[in-house]
Assembly symmetry: C2
Homo-oligomer: 197 residues x 2
């Protein structure tokens, strides 16, 4: 854990590690299921349990979100690499990109939104508020339920990250990565350092 003598200034860049690959799904005004890929997002509150995804107003998903006040966030897994990239390139305004990507939209249980069935983990969300920051709006969603494929769960019924195999986005080199191996237990591996207090 060496502290390096010098760091190079790179300017203002969105270099947070790791960044997710989130498939945000909504029904548009005509009731058509649509999905977009978002790497700008994360959990933002424990209670009420909420997540944030940043969506540009010109995205087809943006108005659908405000109108329906419901969306799902699907975790894109390694096997969905091409599809997840594709739905981030093409607009749902012109195309049925879910079909073109070979993805399946199903209706969520708790909210009025579709979910992408190929995603191993889905978060069903109701829109709590939308906050315009600049070119993006932060969409704050309350997590109403999480659904996971049975074969992703460990013996205790929790998703096993190695089986979820989430895609990881890297904004710096514009690439996708997989998740690596487990390194230790949280709220535990640091306890040894308490001796230094």
């Amino acid at each position: 854990m060496p502290a390096k003598d010098s760091k190079r200034s790179l300017g203002a860049l969105p270099l947070l590690y790791p960044e997710p690959v989130l498939l945000v799904a909504t029904y548009d005004g005509a009731g058509k299921a649509n999905v977009m890929t978002a790497a700008w997002g994360g959990i933002c509150c424990s209670e009420p349990l909420s997540l944030m995804v940043a969506v540009r107003p010109e995205r087809w998903t943006h108005d659908a979100l405000l109108e329906r006040k419901a969306f799902t966030v699907g975790i894109a897994s390694e096997s969905m690499l091409a599809a997840a990239d594709f739905v981030g390139i093409v607009s749902g305004r012109r195309y049925d990109k879910i079909a073109a990507a070979g993805l399946t939209a199903e209706k969520a249980e708790k909210v009025n939104a579709p979910f992408i069935a190929e995603c191993p983990v889905i978060l069903e969300c109701s829109l709590e508020q939308s906050i315009r920051l600049g070119v993006h709006s932060m969409m704050i969603g309350r997590i109403e339920d999480v659904k996971a494929d049975e074969d992703c769960l460990d013996a205790e019924g929790r998703p096993d990250p190695a089986k979820v195999a989430p895609l990881i986005f890297d904004a710096g080199t514009r690439g996708y990565y997989g998740i690596g191996k487990r390194l230790g237990d949280a709220f535990s591996v640091g306890k040894a350092l308490m001796q230094g207090l």
Copy 2:
């Protein structure tokens, strides 16, 4: 990319994949450097380029952030596993946990905040706004500059995720993971599916 027949409902849980391990550093009212670990956060706007970290009001960092309106976010790397976990367990109110963790605080260049020198990548941020959601406040920071260790950079001067080796947090199994291998180029691997439009 099979769509599974059924998904199991797990209830409302913060199961976003991947989640980061962010070291949020501030100067407190007395000018002492402090740091906390945050897994709730992410990029939230491209212009102005901003990130969000969620901080509980009872955290020592919370008031320091509001007072100084400046912070840094350091990316915790694999070699910092125990230290990153430790500073998430212990409060800076009572302890100089940076010293106890064997970490080094240095003053940032662009903002009035310290950074953890051991982090391979640092984002220097000025606080734009604080939004109380519930038990957490979303701290929205404008990214003023990114600094990276020279030996993390690739030939084009961009951080190489394999060299940054960011820790990944898993809220489901309460564990830390590493990053895996590169799977493909973003805004590129999905183009093959355009034939289906």
